[in-house]
Structure formats: structure tokens, C-alpha cells
């Protein structure tokens, strides 16, 4: 029975993770996704993960990391994994609980050449900081090239270090290819066979994100620029693409195009798995286009999650289906006494800036008694798949299923870096080794 519970919740949540991440690398191979790669619609716009935390080595700063382009195969050559030049990538921070951005860091990228036959994946970028109605370019940076291999991109650690750029007024930024710090056993869970060793929290899962890369943006911002009396900030990431019209219009007799005049937000990410687990299909495009301050209209999907109902319908586990104040608090307002931002319902990753980082993080975050981790912000080592499974199963309501669940992958396949930008260097295409078995 225990295995079954794990299997069911695992299927539901991890299948959602699969969607979040795009096709799992394995599924991709099965259906030959190099041949038919249009499975993921817009990987250069869809945000896959967002992290926000105070780090041990820089406790006076808030570090925010957001990732795009899931499942980059380092051995794919030629390789065009890059940020989109025609998109706007933003990290937004709310300081006063109204779920509107008070500080925005916006990145625009520029390619070095128009064709990529030589594998030039270096991009120049600008960081614009918008706050108090004021916009200012605070950094001009350069991404490192993608990690092709020791001959094309030798001494990668150094290349990545050189790419860290200071922000005017304090803090730093990095943008470029990174190892995907996210970890989950997609293959086993998706197969309904569930967990490789039978019990979800004993390890033995296979990290299907091992040895795959993503494109990440990392910011380290002095807390002094963000803190206020409540100490808690809300963080989310967005991507926008230009809206275009079919016909040109004329102004003063000159033909013009409807481009970059109007931006549409096509992706947003605050708490993990909201788009995938909570928001119904028919509303996903709309939800993605909105600012979190408009989230009250989605409250019912948090309060009565479809996922809990489906689990019960299929398997009769008695997971609470209604009145999920616990989920509303964790995901929409913050937890009182931990990271509440007031009554405004909004999906943001909330970080209490007054809680110091710990050198011995617990992967289950607050569920593991570690208030410096998810849902108080999110660290790279927080096991959000296990936490989400337990949360939906009613951990906060004292439901017994809430302590059992997991996918058997408890940490990333490679160590994260001890310093900025924390996500490790991407695996090189040359030393390609994907999908490693955990001990």
C-alpha cells in the first residue's frame, strides 16, 4: 500500500514536473526528440525553476536563480541553446505584499553572430533595474560559451568565473549555461512502476536531470536594497515575447511593423509546480500572462486542488480535497510567523530576509525543521518534488500519507558550487554521461 501511495502521488506530481521541464530526456530519446523536437513548444521562454535564498557565503545578499531551456543535451551538436534575443527575461521582487513588482531586473540578450555553424553561443546582455518608476542599466555582461568540450571551451570553471559581472550599486549577475540543479526521478515515476527501491524515501532513484544543462540567470542583490519592516519579499520570474499583428500599419507614410511595441508575458514562475499541478489546462495561457496580484481569481484551484480529488477518486486514499487553507497559506499568502506577506493572495516565492542561512540544510526545508528552506524561499538543495508530494497528501493537516512520500532522488547528481552562481558548470558534451544511477 505504501508503495502504491508513493506511486500514485509520484505519478501525479512528477508527471507534472515532467511537463514543467518539458520532455524528460529519456522520453525524448524514446520518441527521438532530436528528430521530432517540437515537443516542447517554447523552451527559450518557459521558466523551469526559480530559487531565492540567502547563501552561507553571502548572507547579506538575496540570491535569485531562474532557469530556462530544460533538458539541454550537452552532446547535441551543433548546439543552439541560447537565450532568445527577442524575449525579455525578468526577475521581479515585491517588497510590500501587494504582489506588484517594486524592483525588477530585466535582461535582454544579443547574439554575437547570426549563424551558429561555428558553435558561438556567447551572448552579450544588459541588465536593467526598474524601481520607483526609474529604469537604469546596472550591468552589461557576457555569457560564457556553452560547454562543448575541453577543446572548444577549455578551462570552463575559469570561463564561468570570468562571466560573473558586478551590478552598479552592489551585487552581481551571471547568465549562461548551467548544470540543472533540479533533481527528480521522472522515468521511474512516469512508468507507474514508481520507485526503484520500493520506498520513496530510501534513495535509489535515478536523477533524470543528471548531466543535462539549462540556461540560468543568477542575481545576488544586497539585502539592504530590498528589506523593509516586514522583512519578507515576494519573488517571481517572467518571460515576455513581442506581440505582432499580421498587417503593417502606416504612420507618416512610413510602413511599420507591430513589433516590440507591446509585450505579452508568456511565462511566469513563483512557487514550483503551480502551472503544472494547480492551474487547469484551459487557464494556463491566461495564468502565465498575468501578474501575481491578479491571482485571487485562481484561489479555488488551490483550495480544492484537482490533484487531490483525482488521487482520491482513483485510489481512495482520503487525501483532503477541500478547504485546503494549508495550501493557500503556503502558496498564496505565506505562512504566518514564517514568511507571510499579508492577506493579498498571490503566487510568489516568499523569502523572510531575517532568517539566516544554515550550513547544514535539510532537503525537506521547513518540513524538516529547517526554516531557511522551502517554502521560505527555495534553495538548490530543497527537494521540492518530495515536499510537494507530502504537502498535497496533507502533511500540514497531519495526514499520514504526508510523511511517506518521495521519488527516491534526494539530491542533485553533482555538488552545487559553494559560491555564486551556485549552480554548477554544465556537463561538457565531450564527457557526456546522462542519467546517472544514484547509489
Amino acid at each position: 500500500m505504501r508503495t502504491l501511495i508513493i506511486a500514485i502521488c509520484g505519478v501525479a506530481v512528477a508527471a507534472a514536473v515532467l511537463v514543467l521541464k518539458g520532455p524528460s530526456p529519456e522520453a525524448g530519446q524514446a520518441s527521438s526528440h532530436r528528430e521530432a523536437p517540437l515537443i516542447a513548444e517554447d523552451p527559450s521562454a518557459d521558466t523551469t525553476d526559480l530559487y531565492a535564498f540567502r547563501s552561507v557565503d553571502a548572507p547579506n545578499s538575496l540570491t535569485v536563480i531562474a532557469n530556462w531551456i530544460p533538458a539541454e543535451d550537452p552532446a547535441a551538436a551543433p548546439n543552439w541553446y541560447r537565450f532568445s534575443e527577442r524575449a525579455r527575461y525578468s526577475i521581479k521582487l515585491d517588497r510590500n505584499g501587494d504582489a506588484k513588482p517594486d524592483v525588477t531586473y530585466r535582461l535582454r540578450f544579443k547574439n554575437r553572430e547570426d549563424t551558429l555553424f561555428l558553435g558561438n553561443t556567447v551572448q552579450d546582455y544588459t541588465v536593467t533595474r526598474a524601481a520607483h518608476g526609474d529604469e537604469k542599466v546596472v550591468a552589461r555582461g557576457v555569457t560564457p560559451p556553452n560547454n562543448i568540450g575541453p577543446r572548444s571551451s577549455p578551462n570552463y570553471r575559469q570561463l564561468a568565473e570570468n562571466a560573473v559581472t558586478n551590478l552598479a550599486g552592489g551585487g552581481k549577475v551571471f547568465a549562461g549555461q548551467r548544470e540543472d540543479a533540479f533533481f527528480a526521478d521522472i522515468g521511474a515515476i512516469f512508468d507507474l512502476v514508481a520507485i526503484r527501491k520500493g520506498v520513496g524515501n530510501e534513495g535509489g532513484g535515478k536523477d533524470f536531470f543528471a548531466a543535462y544543462a539549462v540556461h540560468g540567470i543568477a542575481l545576488q542583490i544586497p539585502i539592504s536594497q530590498l528589506d523593509d519592516s516586514d522583512h519578507t519579499v515576494g519573488v517571481w520570474a517572467t518571460t515576455e515575447r513581442p506581440r505582432v499583428k499580421i498587417r503593417q500599419y502606416r504612420r507618416h507614410g512610413v510602413r511599420r511593423f507591430h513589433e516590440e511595441r507591446q509585450w505579452v508575458q508568456v511565462s511566469r514562475l513563483g512557487n514550483p509546480l503551480i502551472n503544472e499541478v494547480i492551474i487547469p489546462t484551459r487557464l494556463k495561457d491566461k495564468w502565465n500572462s498575468l501578474s501575481p496580484d491578479k491571482d485571487a481569481q485562481f484561489e479555488q484551484y488551490y483550495r480544492e486542488p484537482i490533484l487531490a480529488a483525482v488521487i482520491n477518486q482513483l485510489y481512495g486514499l482520503g487525501v483532503p480535497e477541500k478547504n485546503r487553507d494549508d495550501l493557500v497559506a503556503v502558496l498564496l499568502t505565506g505562512v504566518p510567523g514564517l514568511n507571510s506577506t499579508g492577506p493579498k493572495l498571490a503566487d510568489m516565492l516568499r523569502v523572510n530576509l531575517s532568517i539566516p542561512p544554515t550550513a547544514t540544510p535539510n532537503r525537506l526545508g521547513v518540513f524538516g525543521g529547517d526554516t531557511a528552506g522551502f517554502p521560505n524561499g527555495r534553495r538548490l538543495e530543497d527537494d521540492v518534488v518530495d515536499i510537494a508530494e507530502r504537502a498535497v497528501a496533507g502533511k500540514l493537516k497531519g495526514h499520514p500519507a504526508g510523511d511517506l512520500l518521495g521519488d527516491g532522488v534526494d539530491g542533485n547528481d553533482v555538488p552545487n558550487l559553494a559560491e555564486f552562481p551556485y549552480e554548477n558548470d554544465p556537463p561538457s558534451g565531450f564527457a557526456n554521461a546522462k542519467g546517472q544511477q544514484k547509489p
Binding site: 521530432a36 517540437l38 521562454a45 506581440r243 508568456v266 495561457d285
Partner: protein, 399 residues
């Protein structure tokens, strides 16, 4: 080879399906759907993706079976419905595609993808303005590769190649995978080709092959461009590879025509036999091929009366620009030139070399030789290689 113009539509449909399936997967609601329905939908969409990759039509049948099973379990599953709508479009059942898309729009008006599928159907049914509005709704809800691709097609249909290039540039910029990039390069090359910039077009097609080696759609496009430049041997070589790599009566027809032009009758007959076999397979798997068969027969002087009947049936199903073109050509070939005029007028809303040529044939048939001469010249100026068979015929008519 005369299927070339239709081919553009078919390729557009293929590309649209491609992008659609991509979109559907991305938004797939696997987290909350019952596993069986979810798996059926996924299987149904994967079959369409296989069909797109290989051209093999039996995947359509399998896709439909899976999607209908999913809908039996949940009649309102929007992904199954969109998948089916797109499948109907791919099979040229645009009225059915439109009806399904309307149902999804009712269930999920804020889903960008449904407006794209709806626009595809409307445009094929000749309802251009409504189709363009659907596309613009799609972009307004979610600008994406799939939406930019459709904007590009709409602009190119309107003759705005510059705007089409810009839209394709947006799609190309967003693409991170080889197939999507290759697709965009081919579309860019087609725009160059339509402007008779053959060398630039060939470079684009080669670019597509550099990112996706053996991409059959690029090989076919390259074959046609080589033929237009008079390099028949290399055209045949490219076309043969395209035919080997992908199930496509259009590709096989082009190979046959090229072989016919160089006098290799045996090879031409083999290719034409393949066209026939493949058309049959398409029909067996529910694809409406009436207009394509009519066009092939008209081009090659086969069963002209039967072709007129086919063209009329095809027109009844999808009265878009292609149906107008085929029906007017069928009427001309059957000597009913006055009747052909109104269809020709509608086809010429989106003019190309072949459509001017048809008009020239009408004018001659109606005894207006001066107008016919002018239009023969215009057809050849627009596209000196509009058809390997009829372009040389047009050239011989010039005085």
C-alpha cells in the same frame, strides 16, 4: 511538379501540425488527468508527430483511434479535442477541424493554441479575414514559435514577404532545436524562391540541411530550386533523396516530372506509380486527396473529365484559393473557359505564375489573344519555372 503550389499548402499544414503538437505537449495536463486518458492523448499526439516526421499516413489512423478513445472517457478533454481538430485539418477536412476548434474555443477561450488551429481551418476554407483574426488572437494570448509561424504564413499569403521574414525571424530566434530551425530556414528559403532569388533560396535550404541533415522538406525544396536554375541532374539527385526519406506523393510527383523532362521515361513512370500508390494510402487513412489528384491528372493530361468531377468535389469541401485554382484549371482543360473565369478571379487574389498562366489560357480560349500574350509573359516573369511541363508550353506560345 504542378503539385508544387498545393505542396506549399500541405507543407504549411504539416508545419502547423508540428507546431501544434509541440504546443499541446507542452501544456499537457498530465498532472491532473486520469492516467489512461492522459496516456491516450499523449499516444494520439505522438502518432501525429510521427506522421509529420515520416509522412506515413497510417499514423493518422492510429492517432484518431487514440484520441477518440480519450474522448470517450472525457468528451471535454481539450487536448484530445485540439489534437483531433488538427488531425482533421491535416486530412483536409477543414469544416470538421473548424467545428472541433470551435468546441474547444467554447471550453477554453483563453487557450492560445485553439485560435491557431481555428485560423488554419478558416484560411483553408477561404475565410481569410476570419482566419487572420484568429491568428492575431493567438498571438495576443501567447506569442510563441507556433504563433509567429502562422503570422509569417499569413503575411506571405498577403504578399508581404518582408513582414513574413520578420515573423520567421522571431520564430527562428525562439527555436532551440534542430527541426524547428530547419523548418524556419526552409520557409525563409521559400520566400527567396518566390522572389526568384534562387541562389539565396538554395543557401537557406542548405542551412536547413546543415542543422538537420537529410531533412526531406529541405531536400525537396533544394531539388525544385536546382531545377529552376536549370541544374536538372542535381535537382533529380536531391529529389530522389527526398522521396526516399519521406512518404509524399508531391515529392514523388516532382521526381517523376524531372525525369520526364530529361527524357528518362522509365524512372518517371516509376515515380508516377509511387504517386498513385501513395495517394491510395492517404485516402485509405482518411486524407482527402481530391484536389491533389485532380491537379496531378490535369498537369499530366490524364482523365480530364474525371478530374473535373474530382475538382468539384474538392471545391465543395474546402473552397480556398487552391480549390479555386484547381477547379478553374479543370474547367479550362475541359474547354469550359467562361465558367472558369470566376474561379480564376478568386485564385488570383493570391497570384503566382501558375495562376497567371491559367488566366492566359482562359483569355486565349475566349479569343482574346493580346490579353493571353500579356498573361503568358506575366506568368513567366513571375516564375519562369512555375511548372516543368507548362512553363515550357507557355514559352512556346510567346510571339
Amino acid at each position: 511538379m504542378r503539385q508544387r503550389v498545393l505542396l506549399a499548402g500541405v507543407v504549411a499544414a504539416i508545419a502547423a501540425t508540428t507546431l501544434l503538437v509541440g504546443g499541446t505537449f507542452r501544456g499537457d495536463d498530465e498532472g491532473v488527468a486520469a492516467p489512461t486518458t492522459r496516456q491516450l492523448v499523449r499516444a494520439g499526439l505522438e502518432e501525429q508527430q510521427r506522421a509529420r516526421r515520416t509522412g506515413e499516413p497510417s499514423h493518422y489512423t492510429r492517432s484518431e483511434r487514440a484520441l477518440r478513445q480519450a474522448l470517450a472517457a472525457d468528451p471535454n478533454d481539450v487536448h484530445a479535442l485540439i489534437g483531433l481538430a488538427s488531425l482533421e485539418n491535416t486530412r483536409h477536412h477543414f469544416r470538421e477541424g473548424l467545428a472541433l476548434a470551435r468546441r474547444v474555443r467554447y471550453l477554453a477561450p483563453d487557450m492560445a493554441l485553439v485560435h491557431g488551429v481555428m485560423g488554419d481551418a478558416l484560411i483553408e476554407l477561404g475565410r481569410y479575414e476570419a482566419g487572420f483574426r484568429s491568428y492575431e488572437r493567438m498571438v495576443a494570448l501567447k506569442p510563441s514559435i507556433a504563433a509567429y509561424a502562422r503570422v509569417g504564413q499569413a503575411r506571405s499569403l498577403l504578399g508581404d514577404n518582408r513582414g513574413a521574414r520578420r515573423a520567421l525571424g522571431l520564430a527562428l530566434d525562439a527555436a532551440v532545436d534542430a527541426q524547428t530551425r530547419a523548418w524556419a530556414y526552409v520557409e525563409l528559403g521559400r520566400l527567396d524562391r518566390s522572389e526568384l532569388r534562387f541562389a539565396a533560396a538554395a543557401r537557406r535550404f542548405q542551412q536547413a540541411l546543415a542543422v538537420a541533415p537529410n531533412y526531406p522538406i529541405a531536400l525537396d525544396a533544394l531539388g525544385e530550386t536546382e531545377a529552376a536554375r536549370g541544374n536538372l541532374d542535381s535537382a533529380i539527385a536531391f529529389q530522389r533523396r527526398a522521396v526516399e526519406l519521406r512518404f509524399s506523393p508531391e515529392f514523388a510527383g516532382s521526381l517523376g516530372d524531372l525525369n520526364a523532362v530529361v527524357g528518362n521515361r522509365a524512372a518517371a513512370q516509376r515515380a508516377y506509380a509511387r504517386v498513385e500508390r501513395q495517394e491510395r494510402r492517404l485516402a485509405e487513412n482518411g486524407v482527402d486527396t481530391e484536389l491533389d489528384r485532380a491537379m496531378f491528372n490535369l498537369e499530366h493530361g490524364i482523365d480530364l473529365r474525371g478530374s473535373l468531377a474530382l475538382a468539384r468535389r474538392g471545391y465543395a469541401r474546402r473552397p480556398g484559393v487552391e480549390a479555386n485554382e484547381v477547379l478553374s484549371w479543370a474547367l479550362i482543360r475541359n474547354g469550359r473557359c467562361e465558367e472558369a473565369v470566376s474561379y480564376s478571379n478568386r485564385a488570383l487574389r493570391f497570384p503566382d505564375g501558375h495562376r497567371y498562366f491559367h488566366r492566359a489560357m482562359i483569355e486565349r480560349c475566349l479569343g482574346r489573344e493580346a490579353a493571353a500574350q500579356r498573361l503568358f509573359r506575366k506568368a513567366l516573369a513571375t516564375d519562369p519555372n512555375f511548372s516543368p511541363i507548362w512553363a515550357s508550353y507557355a514559352r512556346r506560345q510567346l510571339r
